[in-house]
Amino acid sequence: MSQSIDIRTGGWSHFVYVLRDNPVTLVSFGLFAVFAISAVFGPALVPYDPLATNATSALQPPSWDHWFGTDNLGRDVFSRVIVATRLDLTISILAVAISFFIGTVLGAIAGYWGGWWDIVLNRLFDTIMAFPLFVLAMGIVAALGNSVENIIYATAIINIPFYARLVRAEVNVRRDAGFARAARLAGNSHPRVVAFHIIPNALPPMMVQVSLNLGWAILNAAGLSFIGLGVRPPTPEWGIMVAEGANFIVSGQWWVALFPGLWLMLAVFTFNLMGDGLRDLVDPRRRT
C-alpha cells in the first residue's frame, strides 16, 4: 500500500517537474482546458444563438457587440466558433477512440499470436497506408454516404494502422518476457495476459500517439467538411465556416474565415504541443 502511494506521488512530482521544466507544456494543458470548457459549456456561454440570422447586421466587422464580427446572414461568428468546438472535438475524439480500440485489438492479435494473422493483418495495414490517407477518407465517405457519422468512421479507419503497428511492436517484444510467462503460468488465459499484463505496458507510447493523432484527426475532419462532406450548413463547424468565409475573403471580409480558421489551428497546435509534453512525461530517458 505504502509503495503504491510512493509511486503515485513520484509520478505526480515528475508531472510537476515536467510542467515546470517546460512551460510550453503548461500552456498547452491550459489551452486544452479552455477547449474542454467551451466544448462542454459552449452553448450556454455564448452571447448569441449560433443559428439566429439577422439580416440587418450582416457582414459586420468585429466590434464590442460582435467580437468576431458577423457573417453574411448576420450570425455572430464568435458564438458559432465556440459552439463548433463541441462538434469538432466529438468527431476527432470518437474517431481516435475507435481507431485506438480496433488498432489495439488487431495489433495485439498480430503481435501476440503472429503467424498467418500477422501476415494478413500487416498486408491489410500496408494496403491502407498505400493510399494517400485524406484521399482514402474521401473515398470511404463517398462509399458509405455523406454524414457526420461516416466522417468519424473514415477518420478512424485511416488511423488504425498507426495504432496497430505500435501495439504490434510493443506486444511482440513482451510476448515472451518473464512477467508475461509468469502470468500465463499462474493460470491466466492468453487474452487475459494480453489485455491485463502486456497492453498496460504499451499504454504510455500510445497516449503520445493519441494526443498527436487528435490534432491530425481534427484537421482531417475539418478538411472533409471544407470540401462539403459530412457536416451540413447551417451547423457551426470550423471547416465549413472557413469554406463559407472563403467566399467573402476576395471582397475583404476577412473575419468570417479568419476566426474559425485560427481556432482550428489553435486546437491542432494545442494537441501537438500536448503530445510533445506527454512524450517528455512518459519517455523513460527523461525520467531520472
Binding site: 500496408d126 474521401m138 463517398a142
Partner: protein, 341 residues
C-alpha cells in the same frame, strides 16, 4: 545479375501485392456499398429503367467474384466507368486534368525542398542558435496549419490587400489563351511555344497555390533534414573526416549531407501522402482545374464512378511515387545490394 539489379527487381516485385491490395480495397469501396451500387452509379436523376441498365452494364447482377474479375478487366483496359456530371469516361477526364495537379504538386515540392533542406542543415549546424529556434517554430506551426486556411489567408493578403497576385481562379487568367498542349504543364508548354507572356501569367497564377502547398510540406522535410544532419554530424566517420584534416565544406556536404540525404528521401514518401491529400483542398480553394477539384465536384454531385476512379488513380500514383523513391534510394546508396549477401 548484379546484386544491385537483384535488389531493385525485388523492390519492384514487392509492389505487386500492394497493387493487388489497392485494387481490392478500391473494388470494395466501389461495389460493396451499403445501398444499391447500381442506383449510386446511375446518379441522382436515374429512374428504374436506367438503374437496371446500369446494373447490367456494370455486371452488378453477377456474383461478387465474377464482378471482381470484370472490374479488374475493365481497369486493365483503362476503363474506370463514365462520369455522370461530365458524361465522359472517367479515365479521360482524369488524364486531362492530371497535369494541372502534377504541375502544382511538383512546384510546391521543389519550392519547399529548396527552403526546407538548407534550413534544416543550417539549424543542425548551428544547433541552439536563432536559426534552430526558427526552424523548430516553423516545424511545429507548419504541422498545425490547415492548408485550406493558409490558402484563404494568402489570398486575402496577396490578392485583396496587396494586389500582387492575380484573382485566385484557375491556372490562367481569362485574358490569355492556354498554350498548345504538349506536356499539359502550362509552364513548360508556354516555354516550348516561346510565349513568355503566357509563361509569366501562368507562373503568377501558380505562385499562391504553390506556396500554400509548399508551406505545408516544409515542416516534415525541415524536421527530417535537421534530425538526419544532427545524427550524421555526431557520427564517428565525421569525426574521422575532420581529424583527417578535410575542410569544413567537404566534411559538411561531401560526408554529412550525403549520408543525411537518405532518410530525407525516405520521408518524401510520407510527404507525398500528405501532399496528394492537401492537393484536393488547395485546388478547391484556388479553383485549380486539377483532379482534386474534379473529385470534389464529383462528390458534391454524387458522381460515384468519378470519385472512385479518382481514389484509385491517386493510390496508383502514390504507390508508383513510393516505388520511384525507393529506387532512387537504391541508386543514391551504394551499400544497397550488398546487404543481400
Amino acid at each position: 545479375m548484379s546484386s544491385q539489379a537483384k535488389a531493385i527487381s525485388l523492390r519492384i516485385a514487392q509492389t505487386i501485392p500492394v497493387l493487388l491490395g489497392v485494387v481490392i480495397i478500391s473494388f470494395v469501396l466501389t461495389r460493396a456499398l451499403p445501398g444499391d451500387p447500381a442506383a449510386y452509379f446511375a446518379g441522382v436523376m436515374a429512374d428504374a429503367n436506367s438503374i437496371e441498365a446500369t446494373r447490367e452494364a456494370l455486371g452488378l447482377d453477377k456474383p461478387m467474384i465474377q464482378q471482381f474479375f470484370l472490374y479488374v478487366g475493365d481497369m486493365l483496359q483503362g476503363d474506370l466507368g463514365r462520369s455522370i456530371s461530365t458524361g465522359r469516361p472517367v479515365a479521360t477526364d482524369l488524364a486531362e486534368r492530371l497535369p494541372a495537379s502534377l504541375e502544382l504538386t511538383l512546384t510546391a515540392l521543389v519550392l519547399s525542398c529548396l527552403i526546407a533542406v538548407p534550413l534544416g542543415i543550417w539549424a543542425a549546424v548551428r544547433q541552439g542558435s536563432w536559426v534552430d529556434h526558427l526552424c523548430r517554430v516553423l516545424v511545429t506551426a507548419g504541422v498545425s496549419l490547415p492548408t485550406f486556411f493558409t490558402g484563404v489567408l494568402l489570398i486575402y493578403v496577396f490578392y485583396y490587400l496587396l494586389g500582387w497576385a492575380p484573382s485566385p481562379l484557375g491556372r490562367l487568367d481569362f485574358l490569355y489563351l492556354s498554350p498548345p498542349r504538349v506536356t499539359g504543364f502550362y509552364l513548360i508548354d508556354s516555354l516550348l511555344a516561346r510565349d513568355m507572356e503566357v509563361f509569366f501569367a501562368s507562373l503568377r497564377q501558380l505562385a499562391l497555390p504553390g506556396i500554400t502547398l509548399g508551406l505545408f510540406t516544409l515542416a516534415p522535410i525541415a524536421r527530417m533534414t535537421r534530425a538526419a544532419m544532427l545524427t550524421a554530424l555526431s557520427s564517428d566517420y565525421l569525426r574521422t573526416a575532420r581529424a583527417a584534416g578535410l575542410g569544413p565544406r567537404k566534411v559538411l556536404y561531401g560526408y554529412a549531407f550525403r549520408n543525411a540525404l537518405l532518410p530525407v528521401v525516405t520521408t518524401l514518401g510520407m510527404v507525398f501522402s500528405f501532399v496528394l491529400g492537401a492537393n484536393v483542398l488547395v485546388e478547391k480553394v484556388f479553383a485549380w482545374p486539377g483532379i482534386g477539384s474534379y473529385a470534389v465536384e464529383a462528390l458534391v454531385a454524387s458522381d460515384y464512378a468519378a470519385v472512385q476512379g479518382f481514389v484509385l488513380a491517386m493510390a496508383l500514383l502514390f504507390v508508383f511515387l513510393n516505388l520511384l523513391i525507393d529506387l532512387s534510394y537504391a541508386l543514391i546508396d551504394p551499400r544497397i545490394g550488398f546487404t543481400e549477401k
